[in-house]
Amino acid sequence: MTSYRLDKGGLIDRDSALRFTFDGALHIGRTGDTLASALMANGVTLMGRSFKYHRPRGVITAGAAEPNALVELREGGRKEANTRATMIEVYDGLVAKSQNNWPSLNFDVGAVTSLASSVFVAGFYYKTFMWPKSFWEKIYEPIIRRAAGLGSASKLPDPDKYEKSYAHCDMLVIGSGPTGLMAALAAARQGKRVILAGEGARLGGSLLNENEEIDGQSGFDWSQGVIGELASLPNVTLMPRTTIMGWFDGNIFGAVERVSDHLRVPDPYEPRQRYWKIHAKRAVLAAGAEERPVAFGGNDMPGVMQASAMRTYANRYAVAAGRSVVVFGGNDSIYRTARDLKSHGIHVEAIVDSRKDAKADAAGVPVIRGALVADAVGGKAVKSVHLTDGTHINCEAVAMSGGWSPIVNLACHRGKKPVWDANLLAFLAPDNGEAFTVAGSAAGKMLLSECLADGAAKGAAGGKAIEVPKCRDEAFAIAPLWWVKDSHGKAFIDYQNDSTAKDLPLAAREGYSDVELAKRYTTTGMATDQGKLGNINAIAILAEATGRTMDEVGTTTFRPFYTPVSFGAFAGPFTGHHFQPVRKTPLHDWAEEQGAVFVETGLWMRSSWFPREGEDWLASASREVLNTRGSVGICDVSTLGKIDVQGKDAGVFLDKLYCNTFSTLAVGKARYGLMLREDGIVYDDGTTSRLAEDHYVMTTTTANAAKVMAQMEFAHQALFPDLDVTYVSVTEQWAQMAVAGPKSRATLQKLVDDLVMTDETVPYMAALEVTIMHGIPARLFRLSFSGEHAYELSVPADYGSMVARAVMQAGEEFGICPYGVEALSIMRIEKGHVAGGELNGTTTAGDLGMGKMVSTKKDFIGRMMAQRPGLVDPNRQQVVGIRPVDPKDRIRAGAHLLKQDDKPSMANDQGYITGVAWSPMLDMWVGLALFANGRARHGEIVQAWDGLRGHRVMAEICDPMHFDKENKRLHA
């Protein structure tokens, strides 16, 4: 045991006793502890094993950048791998496990890789597993996969809820330390809507960790006063436990609020996490600065940590990292560390200052100037350090400070690169304008007084200023300190990925000197901490190795997310059956009563078939077809898009949209229309009816309803803005049912008010406004997709199921049955009507056999492009019918068509089958196909070759209309 709990001090509740386990061992933590501080308080400093070498690791930070102390938190469906022990608040019942070790954390067999580490240099995998090539998939990859990866994912469903929410503010302040508090206060006192987001459980930022004095009070007391004032203001929202993780277009910030991560299980109805999108008019980044490590031998040993982290553990958590400490660095902040540790009664053996001329006040601690720590000596804990001047000092912990890197990540998320400052030895944020400014130590302000003033100024944003409190400052001066080359042991740059200082010159020597290439070759900065600690050291080493300056090397790209975000937060509540909304038709209840099996069509649920006892889908659909063609059937067609088109120029507008003409359509009639894309390919089809001189109702296919609406918006706004026309979707207003079959008229006649239905009063393609069932308004269309004498009846949606039941009752004496989209599809193939398989985004009106519909007398969308030679080539594939030569054979959709004696090849391909159905009327499989110059080849025998299913049959090309070629039934 090296680390321990101090007798007094800290922001912890010593009366609390929170029981938790780590690798099965029971420990007690205190309210206010993180898992890291609680483990240290219990003498546990070994918390994980590194990725490649399985080296023993402890904490190195006290915050978000932690690369070492990664643990599996919780169990079962709540298990979460790679959680940072420094960010986990301890709760009663917490269960955590170490990762990447076998059989145990203390004795890890994988550590033998360390013995062979001279071969495991950067690029090892690339170089080693290149050949033989055949080994890759079966041997190398599985081995690497087993060795790689930290932690393990739960395969159980996550039982907790996640939420999404939006927020809006005039000023978003990111970070709640001295800078952030002043910025929030300045904006809040102007009456601005302010959101103050802090990463930790408690707001206050560095003032919780450091020994400061502001306005004659302790920094902590001052911070709590300011937070109290902010909390009292109605225009301020405080968001603790919230990480701003990305900056996006429109000054929108992504944030994750860890609502319940500090609890054993979330309270009832509370989410585990909430993903926020914050729309900020302005934002201030006050995220502070991260202390850099120094690359010396054994700088990854448990007990070696950031000097600021060691201070934080002592000041905030009342935890000593060891009984005796060596403090090492090249800037003045190490003296503060020594003083703070000493004030807590922790023995500081020496301050090792790399600068010969350092002058800061050491408070009586011995200072060794101009020397460096070359190696930490020990194994699972530090025993001593060797200095470059030959000195050997026994100690249990090493505090190191290579300098400070302003946390500029968010300010670079939209692509601008940070800028090197040679005096501060730090990259500073780029200028993003006034909508997103950077303040305090995130902006390179290293003195507390500067931070308070900068925060106040950036928060005031040119408005009324607030008074800046007086404070005590620490001096700050710095010299470069990146890598101690005299080290014997491994000097780590990226701890989690085990990349060392020596890997970087190696990468440069092998040609990967660009910072982005060096990153990928060495994996430096590719771990979950994304290079927060060591990347600047890496850039400095690369700069030296290649004779470039820091800004010539530059940084790698900063991308969201600032820290890892769980998938649950992104998914939010949209999981399981909430993954996408369900859209039900007005006849859904009726169809359910009738025993419908539903099928998803986009978001819609459509009734697919209505099985009776013992029937499979084919038996059911076949019966539905026979029933409909034999007497009468009813089908829900409510999903067809319906668009109300009104206005003086409605007809003209439709003439522009469709390739055929609608302005000449008589009131009370419907017409089939074909719509082209700008490029001349068919876009959509459907019937459009004229209800009044200036009022049409258009129908679209189910799939294209929204796209056609968008096409209309575009056409009207951009192409024909002078037309006086309006259009609005009325799809959902109407329940629409097809009533088809020889008895359809007799059935509907019973419902329609005051109208004797004859071929004269309701002729083919009639579109009438009627009432049914003693006054319910309805629209009656004589349309047919089935080829039968048929109608479509529309009624306001709330009456839909009631009317469908009434139709069933009216048709009972004829043996009416409901039919679904399967039967619909069989009947359309029997009749050769095109649908999605043929309207597939590659076919022209001519290909579909509708070339004659295309008007030559008017202009319309797609007219010019449809005349291109390639689109009028007679050898294009055209819609034909297809049926097996032997009626017992089955043809299949997707099969390619070949001349009788040809071998399958692209060159020999003549087309393919777009849809097939078992025709109960013809007792055989029939289909539609796209076939080269097909209309001229009816009667030709071809091979229907289905390579995918290993199937080949001989088939005959024929007219698409397989059934009732004279359309006698339609007009019966």
């Binding site: 927020a167 109805y269 009104q646 206005g647 009325v730 959902e732």
Partner: protein
């Protein structure tokens, strides 16, 4: 013409069950109320008739629904009555389409109504930005929503009928943490 009514079945009839649900934190945070049956029309001004149409809609409950477009609402009207009335009144000025059955209006009210809506819409609902009477076309939980603030703490959410059940499930779940009542 006499106004006739028929028995209209709301798509939420079996779903929006009255009662109190979710967390019990004393007073309910949110109340839900399905406004049904309603008369709902889309009114879109013909070219150049925006101002005249707006003037002709004085006295009606009209909610903005786009440039020169409104939803006009009424309760307790017979089937098609409001449609016929406005079609006549706005002849030559605007196109009128009946949407009474095509849309479902859910009234969300209470001290936590805004917090619930913020879980779905990116629209800023601060009273300075979105005062009583203001409407917006937005999307919540992947569903298009016409949103209107009808009171200090009350909003009307109008969605396509077909999505209403799915939307109801989502929005009531978002209100669970505050405790909600269906009235």
């Amino acid at each position: 013409m006499t106004e006739r009514t028929f028995n209209r079945v709301s798509p939420l009839q079996d779903v929006a069950v009255q009662g109190r649900f979710g967390a019990d934190k004393g007073a309910v945070g949110v109340t839900f109320n399905v406004r049904h049956p309603m008369s709902i029309l889309t009114v879109i001004a013909r070219a150049g008739q925006g101002a005249a149409t707006a003037a002709a809609l004085k006295g009606y409950e009209a909610q903005w629904a786009g440039p020169d477009q409104w939803f006009v609402l009424a309760e307790n009207r017979g089937e098609g009555a409001l449609y016929r009335e406005l079609k006549e009144r706005l002849a030559g000025l605007a196109s009128v389409s009946d949407q009474s059955h095509g849309r479902v209006i859910i009234r969300v009210a209470g001290p936590k109504a805004r917090a619930v809506l913020a879980k779905g819409t990116p629209v800023d609902l601060h009273p300075d930005q979105f005062p009583v009477g203001k409407s917006a076309l937005t999307q919540m939980a992947h569903v298009g929503v016409h949103l209107t603030r009808v009171g200090e703490d009350a909003y009307d959410l109008s969605v396509f009928r077909g999505f209403s059940e799915s939307f109801w499930e989502w929005i009531t779940e978002q209100a669970e943490e505050f405790g909600y009542q269906v009235i």
